[in-house]
Symmetry: C2
Subunit: 158 residues, 2 copies
């Protein structure tokens, strides 16, 4: 079972369509669920303390959606980078170890809270470049789909 | 002037919409043009020699679209990684140096040819993970848009 726990609604219809498309493609390989929690209103004029409050609140909302038996991979700019084959092998190895519930967590526009970092079992960096956390969701589902294609020796165009 | 020279048509309507959206957002900052060349038919049963032929052919087609005075940034899994701020500074620094024509080149499904590598002025890696070359186009235009927002001190949500 794979879960994506993410903060905020996807605002662009094209992006939602892309995410839905990959979620549909993943389903024949593994059950997948996307859980969205509400984001906090932020403003460019926010003080650092206000930003921190948003970060913590969103973090707590995300944490509430994670069950104790889940293996948590947190998307994090300061996480580990791996190529797609290593990523696929990681998923496979988790399954072999009996960790059948893998949950990918994507923070909000301000990033990830200390609480989320503490709960995570692995921190993964998909790119040194910053992308919107909304686009991050697309990148994650594409990589998960790619992982299953790789693990099943099925062709998938680059 | 920014040009994106890429191989193959975008097959997913949602992805084309996303790319169009960012191209539109870039336009107030700089003129941008997307040039597509046809891709070669490939097959999973291709021999290595046949794959190489495809790679070279597609590379030549892309090369033909690049003018001599263009500064070429080649998207390449083995290129340099930089964060979004460094990327923005690179664009800015090229402009300061009078390199006003920047062309991003995205190869086809088999990657980039030696000819393209030889012509490139910089090789850029957006992620150690492999994404489809089609999705790569979306990532590039998003990063270019983000770069202009950063350079103009304008807010842009993560």
């Amino acid at each position: 079972m794979i879960r994506i726990v993410a903060c905020g609604k996807i605002k662009d219809a094209w992006l939602q369509k892309g995410i839905d498309e990959y979620v549909k493609r993943i389903q024949p390989y593994e059950k997948i669920e996307v859980v969205e929690v509400a984001d906090e209103k932020t403003s460019q004029n926010n003080s650092e303390a206000e930003d921190l409050q948003v970060l913590v609140k969103e973090g707590e909302r995300l944490l509430k959606k994670i069950k104790p038996d889940e293996y948590v991979i947190l998307l994090d700019l300061w996480g580990k980078q791996m190529d797609s084959v290593s990523f696929a092998k990681t998923i496979d190895s988790l399954h072999t170890q009996g960790k059948s519930k893998i949950t990918f967590v994507i923070g909000g526009s301000l990033g990830v809270s200390e609480g989320l970092i503490a709960r995570s079992n692995m921190r993964l960096c998909l790119s040194k470049n910053t992308f919107t956390h909304q686009m991050c969701r697309l990148l994650v589902v594409e990589q998960i789909y790619r992982a299953f294609r790789i693990l099943n020796n099925e062709p998938y165009h680059k």
